[in-house]
């Protein structure tokens, strides 16, 4: 018999509608799954079991009384610990915010509660979302449910791992330069970075504000679309929030790939450092799209190879400015000193980990007198050219495709001593982040070691519905079983 934690969000909703199961039973089953397996995975920094049970009971009570329930009623959800939750510790996996309880909820958190999604816990991440392996967490590294000796990717590695390990069918991540898409690839899940501004950033603890975007993880495209629909809302509290409502992605989901113009990004498929097995799996997926009736063409994003260098100037520059707020005054850690300046410097040295300090240093340098024009301003001009490349490609294509990441999941510790090698994980993810366009990662196969491989699908600004439609067509055609398996997989020994 299929356990409740193996079911999709859609199935869990249908079973509740048919009165076959209660929200409380669903939540209890997932909490039991977490208790049994999260000591191996380490996806959650905090399991909010009591609140989750109370919320589930309330949903069941309302259902029984004929009162309205939300669109995600009773569906467990894993929330990245970078979104402010009132009265619940919100740490960004940093010593700087250890024990910090925000006095307000992020808009996304309010919308999830309105939809009656049941938050089962807050998930691990690379500290302040800076990293691609979840090893930069100040607390512990999260492990990949497919192979516990390997990383789940990052920075949203905790949410990705929680969804892959069946701790919850839905997860919320954030993507600044691949932090949803890269872990989705490494954990065999679907991860969507919406158009910049599609989802409110109010209460998302700021990293690089011109790039940060919230998005869903799920084990299928329809579930990802369902969650996106619940969180994509204009928000007066975020001045960069898109005022135009999201076209309902679920309405077009099963239209199929016939007639779609799909551009294969040359610079990605011929990229340096691309694992031949990843390339092969992506090529096969592209061939399937052709068979499904899509018109597949080669396209070029000539400035995309300059995306990662530009990103590593823009991102640290914005981060160095945003993280100036951690000064030991208003919230978080304080290490006392004889003067305010001494207190601030000691607090920041003690509270930030190595990668956070590294980014603050790069950003402060890139913005400093004498270097600003050659670094930050030049990177912003390159960003314009990358955005124009996408615009030109979308003049003749509905969707662009390529690999999400150059490799499958790598062993823990493999890249922790080489920051640049770690950054290269996001070489294919970063261009869409710079352009602000939506993109997602869809599992399309496994390598010889059984580790998942993801295809990246990129759409024009506001093009989520078409993106999800193309991904759904491919997902149905491939029909992959995405249950982590193998000797090193979670639950393999029990």
């Amino acid at each position: 018999m299929t356990a409740l934690h193996q079911l999709s969000a859609h199935e869990l909703l249908a079973r509740q509608d048919a009165a076959e199961v209660t929200a409380r039973e669903i939540v209890d089953d997932h909490l039991a799954r977490i208790a049994a397996t999260d000591s191996d995975v380490g996806a959650f920094l905090r399991v909010t079991a009591d609140q989750a049970r109370a919320h589930a009971d309330d949903i069941d009570r309302r259902r029984a009384a004929g009162e309205p329930v939300g669109a995600l009623a009773g569906v467990p959800l894993a929330l990245k610990d970078i979104l402010a939750t009132r009265g619940v510790p919100t740490t960004c996996a940093s010593r700087m915010l250890e024990g910090y309880e925000p006095p307000y909820d992020a808009t996304v958190v309010e919308l999830l509660r309105e939809a009656d999604a049941v938050v089962v816990g807050k998930t691990n991440l690379d500290e302040f979302a800076m990293g691609s392996s979840c090893e930069n967490s100040a607390f512990w590294p999260t492990r990949n449910p497919w192979d516990l000796s390997r990383v789940p990717g990052g920075s949203s590695g905790g949410s990705a791992a929680a969804v892959a390990a069946q701790h919850a069918p839905l997860g919320i991540g954030t993507d600044t330069g691949g932090s949803i898409r890269q872990p989705a690839t490494l954990t065999g899940t679907v991860g969507v970075k919406p158009t910049y501004g599609r989802v409110s950033r109010f209460g998302l603890i700021a990293f690089a504000s011109s790039l940060d975007q919230v998005g869903p993880f799920a084990r299928s495209v329809p579930d990802a679309a369902l969650l996106l629909s619940a969180i994509a809302r204009p928000d007066p509290r975020d001045s960069t929030s898109i005022r135009k409502p999201l076209d309902d992605p679920q309405a077009q989901l099963d239209v199929g790939a016939a007639g779609l113009r799909v551009g294969v990004v040359r610079e990605f498929m011929e990229g340096e450092g691309l694992d031949p097995q990843v390339r092969e799996a992506c090529q096969q997926a592209v061939d399937r799209l052709t068979d499904l009736g899509a018109e597949v063409v080669d396209v070029s994003l000539p400035h995309a190879p300059y995306g990662l260098p530009a990103y590593y100037l823009i991102n640290p520059s914005e981060a160095s400015s945003n993280l100036a707020r951690y000064d030991g005054v208003r919230y978080g850690l304080r290490v006392d000193g004889p003067t305010t300046e001494a207190m601030m410097a000691a607090t920041r040295d003690a509270g930030f980990g190595a990668e956070v300090k590294r980014r603050i240093m790069i950003g402060t340098f890139a913005l400093s007198a004498g270097y600003f024009d050659a670094y930050y301003a030049q990177a912003q001009r390159v960003r314009t050219l990358i955005a124009r490349d996408f615009e030109a490609a979308f003049a003749s294509c509905d969707v662009l495709v390529g690999p999400t990441a150059p490799t499958t999941a790598f062993p823990l510790g493999d890249k922790t001593d080489d920051p640049l090698a770690m950054y290269l994980n996001d070489v294919y993810a970063v261009p869409a982040s710079l352009a602000g366009t939506p993109a997602l990662s869809l599992p399309v196969g496994t390598d010889a070691g059984g580790l998942p491989i993801g295809l990246q699908l990129m759409g024009p600004l506001l093009g989520e519905a078409t993106l999800l439609r193309a991904a759904r067509a491919l997902e149905v055609d491939l029909g992959l079983d995405l249950t982590p398996r193998g000797a090193q997989a979670v639950g393999a020994t029990g």
């Binding site: 007066p236 590593y312 030049q378 920051p419």
Partner: protein, 118 residues
């Protein structure tokens, strides 16, 4: 580009990071490597290309000028490491700095606003 120890300490100072000697040494190498990589942006011809500061098209976003509830002062102060009389409490900023002790890990002569003294 090569970075001197002095440059690294200067940047750390601007960023209010009291780095250890080991961190300064490690960052000299790592920042140079990362900046060497990032300097590839200099290869791109960008004459007449405007900088892109943001994917959202710049536009003023105004809300109706009506009062809305915000955080109550005690809620806003609750997460603070130290508060007193409805305000954030910090160590002495102005006054007799010699009595407060020297500023940390730098060559002095900076005010708390980060401006160099004449």
């Amino acid at each position: 580009m090569a970075l001197s120890e002095q440059q690294v300490r200067h940047v750390a100072r601007l960023a209010r990071l009291a780095l250890s000697d080991e961190e300064v040494a490690a960052f000299r190498t790592q920042l140079a490597e990362i900046l060497d990589y990032a300097e590839q942006v200099g290869e791109v011809a960008t004459q007449d290309v405007p900088p892109m500061t943001h994917p959202a098209r710049p536009a003023n976003v105004l809300r109706d000028d009506e009062p809305v509830d915000g955080l109550a002062p005690d809620e806003a102060l609750a997460p603070a490491p130290a508060a007193e009389d409805g305000r954030f409490r910090v160590p002495r900023i102005v006054g007799d700095e010699s009595a407060a002790g020297p500023a940390p890990a730098d060559d002095g002569a900076w005010t708390s606003t980060g401006e160099e003294r004449p």
